[in-house]
């Protein structure tokens, strides 16, 4: 199995995640899209690490996971708090900063 398939998979995952972020109104789903994009990027990093026989890419993937874990905590907290005050998790409703 060619190593190129991993890259294609990661491309597909990134596209799915991006689409989810762009088209879904629900904050939780959009958030899942973001996570998907992060993991697609991780897969790319690991793939290239493997291709070049260099561990740097894998190390960076760990960093990304750690950051993503932290980000999930904060992001979910914000979403929950918005949901509690407004009774809705729609992204389009949370547009009060505009003016």
């Amino acid at each position: 199995m060619s190593i190129l398939n991993y890259l294609v998979l990661s491309g597909i995952l990134f596209a799915i995640g991006g689409t989810a972020v762009l088209v879904r109104r629900n904050a939780i789903v959009a958030f899942m899209g973001v996570e998907l994009m992060l993991n697609a990027a991780n897969l790319t990093l690991v793939t290239f690490a493997r291709m070049h026989g260099d561990l740097t890419g894998q190390v960076i993937a760990f960093f990304v996971m750690v950051v993503a874990a932290a980000e999930v905590v904060i992001g979910l907290a914000i979403i929950v708090s918005i949901f509690r005050t407004r009774g809705s998790a729609s992204l389009d409703d949370a547009s009060l900063l505009k003016s």
Binding site: L91, D92, S95, S99
Partner: protein, 636 residues
């Protein structure tokens, strides 16, 4: 007392008195007027101290420079404040303080019923101090201080009754027209500094003969403009008639005897500059001649006693200017006429004030007539002034005016004929309008309501003025009577002035002197006779008849205000309006447009910040893709 100390005190005393009166305000109402009189009298004493101090010296030593302090030490321009006491300034000191003191005394009674009498005396003292600085200054810079000071005092006093709008307007008019002249003086100082590098008399006059004619002419003309503004000479004459809005003592002191003659002083003092430029000199004579006739014509038509006297003042100063422009042969005559004029014209103004005092402040001469029976002292003193100004043989005016007419006939070419004839004819006109004024006021039938005749208006009870007013009039009348003969006797006044004005060679006029004298006297008699026939022997209508074109023009001061309005005021207003429009449209438009543009741009950009997370992320994605494409394309 030394001359130095006297020269400082003569200015300091009235200045301090003015300061005290203005600072203490109402608290000094009770005694303020007497302090003013006292300060002026003290100055007069100092003036005599200076006179005797100078007389005690030889003719060559009669110039004392009193250094006060270093005033403007600014690199190349180093101006010291100092006083120059010489026969010319001493003559002015005596005139200003002596006549000034008499008028102060007169004003004590004249202004008795005015609530602001103290303020009036404060301004009068301020005027005296400023005028003394003007004539004592030893540089054009310090002269300018006095020049502005008298302008300020004149403004304050013309508008003394500023609760009446037209008086306040008259004051403003005088002030603004004087500024035009002051501009000339400033330009003259600038030109002096540019060409000579100094503004003090000694340096400037020493350097004047070496000046190029162009510079001398420029400085001369600028000085002449200054003199025209202050002395109400053509073409800056329009303010003097309106200046009669001030109380009568002011008209007598400032607008007859002293301040308006400052222009003549300036020309005579700057003689060295004018001698370096025949063009400027000729202009002075022309200005003098025009004003001489102008004032005389206006004087023939005015029915307001003070305005008629003002026109006459203008005309007489025209005589002085004419003489001053003739060069060294005329300087002494100009100052001589200035001195005698100061006496008889101030006397007549005080007389006019006395008439107004007895007639409930009426000034229209058509409402006077036959007052000689009711105001004997005023009548006699005014009569002496009248005889003096028309040049009746033996009186002051005869000695001084005749000299000027003779001097005007001296010279070559067309000039002596033209200027001589103008001076001669104006003597006849003077006799006519002054006699008209005198006869209309004091003789003929009474045209005021005495309770028995049919005259309109409230019943009048003309009465003689109190002693405080008549005594100064009597003193001035004595001056009108004898001062000319006293000073002309043995040419002593001309010898006295010689260190300043220089010695003039005697030249014969183009017409023999006895003929000129005879013609002057004949013309004077004709003028008096004409006035007698029209204004004494026959009845004077209460309403002025329509009159000829010239009469109507003269009543309106030969349309001087209309001309100023059309030539200067209106174009000025239009220019200002255009500039205002340009300012709002162009300058403000650019600034405001810039602001509006920034606001508009912001308004557009604001739309992008709609707060929708998904549109932000879309924009971000598109941006990333775009960057990626660009980078890749650049690689390939």
């Amino acid at each position: 007392m030394s001359i130095d100390l006297a020269a400082i005190l003569i200015v300091a005393v009235p200045l301090a008195s003015a300061g005290v009166l203005l600072l203490l305000g109402r608290r000094s109402d009770g005694w303020g007027h007497w302090l003013g009189v006292l300060a002026s009298a003290a100055s007069a004493v100092m003036a005599f101290v200076i006179l005797f101090g100078l007389l005690g010296r030889g003719a060559e030593d009669r110039a004392v420079d009193v250094h006060l302090f270093s005033w403007i030490p600014a690199g190349e321009l180093d101006v010291d404040a100092g006083f120059l006491v010489d026969p010319l300034s001493a003559t002015f000191l005596l005139l200003i303080t002596f006549v000034g003191t008499l008028i102060h005394v007169y004003a004590v009674a004249y202004m008795e019923h005015d609530d602001d009498r103290r303020r009036f005396f404060a301004y009068l003292n301020l005027f005296i101090a400023a005028m003394l600085i003007l004539v004592l200054a030893d540089s054009f810079a310090l002269l300018f201080v006095g020049w502005e000071g008298v302008g300020l005092a004149s403004y304050l006093l013309i508008g003394f009754w500023n609760q009446r709008t037209e008086y306040a307007v008259a004051a403003k008019k005088a002030f603004v027209m004087n500024r035009v002249g002051d501009m000339g003086l400033i330009i003259a100082m600038g030109a002096m500094f540019a060409s000579i590098g100094s503004v003090d008399f000694e340096t400037v006059f020493a350097a004047a003969p070496e000046l190029s004619e162009g510079w001398a002419t420029a400085i001369g003309i600028a000085l002449l403009i200054g003199a025209c503004g202050k002395s109400a000479q053509f073409p800056l004459q329009a303010w003097l008639g309106d200046a009669m809005a001030g109380p009568t003592p002011v008209s007598a002191l400032i607008h007859a005897a002293t301040m308006v003659t400052a222009g003549v002083y300036l020309v005579v003092r700057s003689g060295a500059i004018f001698e370096a430029s025949p063009t400027a000199q000729l202009l002075v004579v022309i200005v003098g001649a025009i004003t001489l006739v102008f004032g005389a014509i206006v004087g023939c038509a005015k029915d307001d006693i003070k305005k008629a006297l003002a026109a006459s003042t203008m005309s007489q100063i025209g005589y002085m200017m004419l003489a001053a422009g003739l060069g060294p042969i005329g300087y002494a005559f100009a100052i001589f006429h200035l001195l005698t004029h100061g006496f008889f014209k101030a006397g007549m103004f005080l007389g006019a004030g006395s008439v107004m005092h007895g007639m409930n402040d009426e000034v229209n001469m058509r409402g006077f007539g036959g007052l000689s029976r009711f105001m004997k002292v005023t009548w006699i003193t005014f009569g002496l002034g009248w005889l003096a100004i028309i040049g009746f043989p033996g009186l002051s005016g005869f000695w001084s005016k005749d000299k000027i007419i003779e001097a005007a006939f001296v010279g070559e070419g067309w000039q002596p004929w033209v200027f001589g004839m103008v001076a001669l004819l104006a003597a006849g006109l003077t006799a006519f309008y002054m006699s008209r004024l005198f006869f209309m006021t004091f003789h003929g039938k009474a045209r005021w309501n005495d309770g028995k005749n049919e005259a309109p208006g409230p019943e009048q009870h003309p009465h003689e003025s109190p002693l405080l007013m008549t005594v100064p009039m009597i003193v001035l009348a004595v001056g009108s009577l004898g001062l000319g003969a006293f000073l002309a006797f043995g040419d002593r006044f001309f010898h006295w002035l010689e260190p300043v004005t220089g010695h003039a060679e005697h030249h014969d006029p183009v017409i023999p002197i006895p003929v000129i004298m005879g013609a002057t006297v004949v013309l004077m008699l004709i003028g008096v006779l004409l006035a007698w026939r029209q204004y004494w022997a026959s009845s004077v209508p209460l309403m002025p008849p329509t009159g000829s074109v010239l009469t109507r023009a003269a009543r309106r001061d030969l349309y001087q205000d209309s001309v100023n309005e059309a030539v200067f005021a209106r174009p000025g207003t239009h220019t200002v309006r255009t500039l205002t429009y340009a300012d709002t449209a162009v300058v403000d438009g650019a600034v405001n447009g810039l602001g509006a543009g920034a606001v508009g741009l912001g308004e557009r950009l604001r739309k992008l910040q709609n707060g929708h997370v998904r549109s932000y992320s879309a924009a971000m994605s598109v941006g990333v893709v775009l960057v990626l494409v660009i980078v890749l394309v650049a690689r390939i």
